[in-house]
């Protein structure tokens, strides 16, 4: 699975949590790298931070939904619990949302749920 966040703390944290749970994780620091990683090898799930310089999480999400593998589940990470961010995310096609500060256990739980749904 793919994790994209410009914040190294969160990136490492999520990568660690998911890999401890047994998943193969690729972590990238920005939107463009996320998109390129997605293009070269579509992951089972993508976890994208909304706020990244350059291509934001929403930009990447939009590109994913318009790509050849549009059904990849995407979880958005956002620093704001604002309705508009959440609305925008769902409008573009996010599958789930986690607000920062977040509980890593809950994140894992949601990822598991999303994966189970695609099976």
């Amino acid at each position: 699975m793919l994790v994209a966040d410009d914040d190294a703390d969160i990136r490492e944290l999520v990568e660690f949590k998911l890999s401890q749970a047994g998943y193969a994780v690729q972590a990238v620091p920005d939107g463009l790298a996320a998109w390129e990683a997605f293009e070269s090898e579509p992951p089972a799930i993508a976890v994208l931070d909304v706020m990244m310089p350059g291509l934001s999480g929403f930009d990447v999400l939009r590109k994913i939904r318009e790509s050849e593998h549009p059904r990849v589940p995407v979880l958005m990470l956002s620093a704001k619990s604002r309705d508009s961010d959440v609305d925008t995310g769902f409008a573009i096609g996010a599958d789930d949302y986690v607000i920062k500060p977040f509980s890593p256990r809950e994140l894992l739980h949601r990822v598991n749920t999303m994966l189970a749904r695609t099976r």
Binding site: V14, K100, P104
Partner: protein, 351 residues
Amino acid sequence: MISWSSILAATLGVLLVCVALAGVVAAIRIRRHSREARRSRLMAPFRPHLVAVSAGEDPGGDSRRVLADVAGPARRALAESVSGMLGKVRGLPAEQLVEVLASHGALGRAVEDLGHRSPVRRAQAAQLLGLSRDPAAVDPLVGALGDHAAEVRASAAYALGLIGDPRAAGPLLHAVGAPGGGLPAGLAADALLSMGVGISDSLVHGLVDPDPRTRTVTAHLCGAGSFTRALPLLRDLVALDPDLTVRETCATALGRIGRAEDAEVLTRHTQVEHPQPLRRVCAAALGELGDPSAVPTLAALTHDPDPRLAELAASTLVRLGPQGRAALAAGGALRPVRSAMTMARLQGVLP
């Protein structure tokens, strides 16, 4: 005329400074890189443990023990890293991280640091106290709201919001409009919202604060947090406050939390003798309020020469149920009405 020697000296001086500055630019970059490198080096052995604890993957407490044992210069770097993490995670990992800090004595030091010489340290101390959610820190933090460095005040306000003790609400509101800089209003509003219903008394005081910024924040909070005790004051302020922003904020708040009797003041302020921005805000607020007593005034407004106001009134009527729509039908040919109906259809509000 200027002497040769003086201009030679001046030129050499200038060119020397230029070279020095070019060197400074490079030095700044090098220093930044080396600082980052140094921090990474210091943290390198502990980073995996930090990540493990933050991820909640430290059931046996091994990583926590390692972190607690950190000493020397690495401790400061660790404290910063832990602070960073605390802003990003919550739940059990956050509690465990706070324990690590407590074991270093960092929290006790933080209270002292609130009086430190350097404003950076004071601000960091405030942030740490907030992230640790220590209720005993409220009083010192309230004191820090009066710090003369803006970033310290902001940190203190943010920290008070994290702790969430409503005792701090009054001082926080007052600090927004305090002379000599004040507090960022949005930050204060965020902090206050997390303090729950206990701030109700402070809000009533805030509405009569001499500074318009404080009144604006208070009015906004009343609406955002459903503080209905303030309704009579809000009504008065819509009519009488000298500051237009305050009046608009009160009107919006009335729309959000008001009851039927609040429609009257809103409808009154849609009339032509009031400032145009206020009229529009009141028309929109009537829609939020949803009281049918406003229908006749709104219907009259659809004929107003201000097209935006007319359309706002029409959109509001759409949302006011069968009475509203009946009134609209009467003015069906009017352009603002047609526009509002088209929008409503596009949005799926009307079939």
